[in-house]
Symmetry: C2
Subunit: 393 residues, 2 copies
Amino acid sequence: MAVTLADVAARARVSAATVSRVLSGNYPVAEATRARVLAAVDELDYVINGPASALAAATSDLVGVLVNDVADPFFGIMASAVQSELGSEKLAVVCNTGGSPERELTYLTLLLRQRAAAVVITGSAVETPEYAAASAAKVGRLAANGTRVVLLGRPASAAPEGSAFAVEFGNREGGRRLTEHLVSLGHRRIGYVAGPADRTTTRHRLEGHRAALAAHGLGGDADAFGRLTVHGPYTRQSGYDGALELLDREPGLTAVVGSNDAVALGICAALREKGLDIPGDVSVAGFDDLPFSADATPALTTVRLPLQEAAARAERLALGREESPAGGRHLVLAEVVARASTAAPRAERQGAGTAPGRARGGGTTCGQLCTGSALRGIFDSVKGKHAPGGGVP
Amino acid sequence: MAVTLADVAARARVSAATVSRVLSGNYPVAEATRARVLAAVDELDYVINGPASALAAATSDLVGVLVNDVADPFFGIMASAVQSELGSEKLAVVCNTGGSPERELTYLTLLLRQRAAAVVITGSAVETPEYAAASAAKVGRLAANGTRVVLLGRPASAAPEGSAFAVEFGNREGGRRLTEHLVSLGHRRIGYVAGPADRTTTRHRLEGHRAALAAHGLGGDADAFGRLTVHGPYTRQSGYDGALELLDREPGLTAVVGSNDAVALGICAALREKGLDIPGDVSVAGFDDLPFSADATPALTTVRLPLQEAAARAERLALGREESPAGGRHLVLAEVVARASTAAPRAERQGAGTAPGRARGGGTTCGQLCTGSALRGIFDSVKGKHAPGGGVP
DNA sequence: TTGTATGCGTTATCAT
DNA sequence: ATGATAACGCATACAA
């Protein structure tokens, strides 16, 4: 990369300053010289030096995106959506934190070092005080430095007042509605395989669940509630193990909710292994409505979170392309998608019909496997461009 | 970010050069001054200026990863694996090209501009001459610039001789083995829903398929072969449409192969809609062995590609942490994973047993839905840490 | 072992 | 509208 601005200037018989002006385009330049410069750039195959430019201008075209793991569709979809909102001038730096607070802090520092133009932090926050303080401090630092920070799926409280925008997910509402759906179908003993205990997302979803139970007088005391709740990571394995544990504690369960679609799939596997029919013997529901959920057998009842839209909005906020409402907080609504994995419990089977509390959204709760056009209909409306494996290898 | 090297130097009562040496750590410094400098850094909360550092040193700690779409697990898994091989000093820049050659070139230029330390280009190459030339030129340019380039899942021929390493996928072999598996089960009329025609991956998988047919005298002439082959994107929708088209052309099909797991799932949906049993009436197989494949009903027979290992190796090559064999080419072997979606065709049902040509790998071809422990066994061995939705939202 | 001086390639501030 | 020139913050060859 020997060719520099000076080379181009020499070839176009102008000063380096003029070349710079032509390239950045934010300054009036005579059309004739402009053409000469562009020609020289083309002939010399000149490529601007990013670091030098960033140093002189004190800005960079890097946008950081923090995710737990891009291989997880929940985050992959958001990362992808952020990208698609990025112009072709900006570069997205995707960082896998693995859910570890330390790595998140490390990456934040790295991004600080790069003088990133913006940072989008996705996923739930860890609620331990030390971490919360450290994380908030880093965000404040970033903001003070001119980097725009947007929290995506994380409460605004995770950053110092006014230092970041937040696009929050309606986890509590979604959790409440999902459990209301089950209660309205007639379920009374509902197990819950929750996420790690110290995560905001886990807490909010669980709070919604409990609120729905309480509203129908099913909450019980803390002990009773605890008996029907187990914690674990947001993995399929956790769902599998959790379901077995719950079945052991309470054989009379008629429904089990997973903190996640992956967890729900694990629950399904465990139930099938026990010889239980879904939803004949036990109903199962998840959360997030990831693409593969509609494909499972039976198709999974879950809570849809418009991840792409949310991520796109977060990115627009990060780029300053969208105005933020007062307080800088946005709420993304969650919506129950009722599919084939939930139905009325055996005892109340007859006359269930279209139970109240059922959400719209192309869902269906046919007792058995949904085949054919019904399933496809759901699938298409749900997935948009994000079919699993939908790209070109 | 007012605090600079000079500030730290002043506080530690040393020169800026010494501070620089302490921070980069590649130069002897007295322990006492070293401690003083570190203390000053800490007290001032100093963060090095990345662009300035990159400019002065003519290197950067950015590593580019080009993918079609991170939301697609095929790419998400590779992007994630690349990340995990990255030390905490380097930053991965993930770029979604959407499979578009133009965007790929744009991103390559952007990375050139950033003076990226390395670039990993994943996915198949487009085989049109103009694009191939332009892409190869950019790669050559990158290499000349000191950026290490690694092709992952793309033939070495896509880059100028000696300018890049290549970790190639055994698409041809995998395609051949998969079709051999079907032939050995007794299938004679096998449909194929291929990817876009101008992609290397598409061509290689299809060539393997055809080679297997030819080896058993089933290839037929080009016309006959063409009748059983349709092209489309690597999406579920494509599989759905393609299967209907093939069924229309040749109702006597006993098996359909998808270019992809997502395509295969689409094929399954179409067949079910037609009232056909899988694998009772028609067998279905995919490619890649993505996590959700083991979860489908019936569990999908597919070709496993060790994406994580391949991506990790690519990254090590990019970082210069692993020696490359002569020629700079690595081949990643593909392996058939036989599951429940393939079985002997009806006419030959009896005595199928364990057909020859069946690959190992925890697979199974029970005629009906695999439930319980068998399914879980496959699942666990296949997925490792990459369960769908396996992270912490 | 440490300090000094220079250069990296742009952008931005003055002039003209 | 264009040119000269001074930052920008750090790394490194060279001195000491």
